[in-house]
Symmetry: C2
Subunit: 330 residues, 2 copies
Amino acid sequence: MGGDHGPEVTVPAALTALQREPDLDLILVGREREVRAQLNALGSPAPERVRLVDATQIVGMDELPVQVLRRKKDSSMRVAINLVKNGSANACISAGNTGALMATARFVLKTLPGIDRPAIVSAMPSLRGHIHMLDLGANVDSPPELLLQFAVMGSILVKYVENKPNPSVGLLNIGVEDIKGNDIVKRAAELMRQSSLNYKGFVEGDAIYTGDVDVIVCDGFDGNVALKTSEGLAQMITHFMREEYRRNLLTRLAGVISLPVMKSLRKRVDHRRYNGATLVGLRRTVIKSHGSADVLAFRQAILEAVTEVKNNVPKHISEELTGMMKAADK
Amino acid sequence: MGGDHGPEVTVPAALTALQREPDLDLILVGREREVRAQLNALGSPAPERVRLVDATQIVGMDELPVQVLRRKKDSSMRVAINLVKNGSANACISAGNTGALMATARFVLKTLPGIDRPAIVSAMPSLRGHIHMLDLGANVDSPPELLLQFAVMGSILVKYVENKPNPSVGLLNIGVEDIKGNDIVKRAAELMRQSSLNYKGFVEGDAIYTGDVDVIVCDGFDGNVALKTSEGLAQMITHFMREEYRRNLLTRLAGVISLPVMKSLRKRVDHRRYNGATLVGLRRTVIKSHGSADVLAFRQAILEAVTEVKNNVPKHISEELTGMMKAADK
């Protein structure tokens, strides 16, 4: 029960997720006394659907993944992933250290056959609803073959989670012409063209928000830069807007009158509605919540896990991947 | 006189720049008949400060730089850069094909001693005013030594253009901890730590808009992704805001009352105020305007050229670089 806020956020988020999903049972893994204290304070509405499992260790946000793997075998992260491994749980949701979560999940759950490395994929808001983008930071220096795997995984995830039969795929580059970019994206483009993907060609950073394609594929360095840059710009615009509305009595009045407009606007771009990135490519479902997630955001991450489990995403990726590999061998 | 709009934008922008800068003389290079027609239509306020030079060829926005170099020797881009080379002009401003402009400028004007490749640097709005970022797309796969050169050039540019004695420098990465990122940024960080730069360490994408450092250094692929992603997000937010204000009579009223607020907000983040990226590292000043620049934006690019010429930026970069290289040799 980690993240920046711990059980104060994750426990109420768990309870609201239970209310929303009648079929859901949850195992809360963490320091049992703290978790139980939160549960008692809130008065669990469905005690029979909540189980507590104790985990004594805590993984710090800047601990090295390799050290966490070796030394933190009783952390909530490790214990929760073990529960998925042994079949007690269908998915793990964590707001903890991303690198440690990825390393632990890979070590314990293993990647799907044909997948070299898992990627981080998340929905992002766009003019036409939302798109999915990967990798958002798990892999740097991804070779073309890995970018192809990202494209396949993203495409299958969107197919089953969004119920879109043939998702379109774009490859992030610094121009749409064939000559643009580095050798890696050029070779990855070639692989995607030869594949059975609905590959649409290169896209630039603005394509995230125009929504021209369903899936945007990129190396984790670039995906992370795009994500963090977007967070920074959104915060700056919000800050400036507040300042401008507070300038004088008249602008404050305009601010009050604009409240419903701002509320709808915020809802459309609210990053909390997009919280819950998938560690895709593993044999089971693991969801990473933003470390600073609040109750609404963490609930969203839990609901993302529910959707992916209900839609059997890892199984579908495995099956379609096997089919693609067989077709490519012919 | 290129770009998406041609003389219809560049000629009025030139005239307003002349009004703003009394010391400025301009040579308008392009199809003389078209440029003169625009000038006549607008009635030049200072005909003695405007000279026309004919150039018959046009460089297409997707022509290959190498072909432009070989075949377009009478394009406005090439002729304008030749005028800088032979001393008739102090700077060249173009809204044309970026790759072609960079290749032509490098070929004709050459890079400064100690600089392997020029970079594209531009100001970006931030919470605390603005920052400078480079490279924005001229160089992909930049090795650590090139990233160090970007840092030095950005730092000297900011020192003289912004009059900041010791600009702080951040290196774009996907986390601020030493273990984050790829080998290239790790080795570049080492070089920057050992240099005389005011190096502050790794920054993430959001640092562009928090303004924590004066100069952000990155490979051109990442810089371009950050730039284009920002453009896309800003457009999406603007679009959603318009939609929300147009929803019904009440929201339209709120929109009218909020007009002054929105106007101030737009002014603070108006990308036109930041138009005019410098091709830094050349022996002379070359400024790249956004292809879609309007009159206000293109005028800004001209004014950026004036500032850099007045502050002798290429000369200062050359001198400080020589000093740094001598110090490093000791």
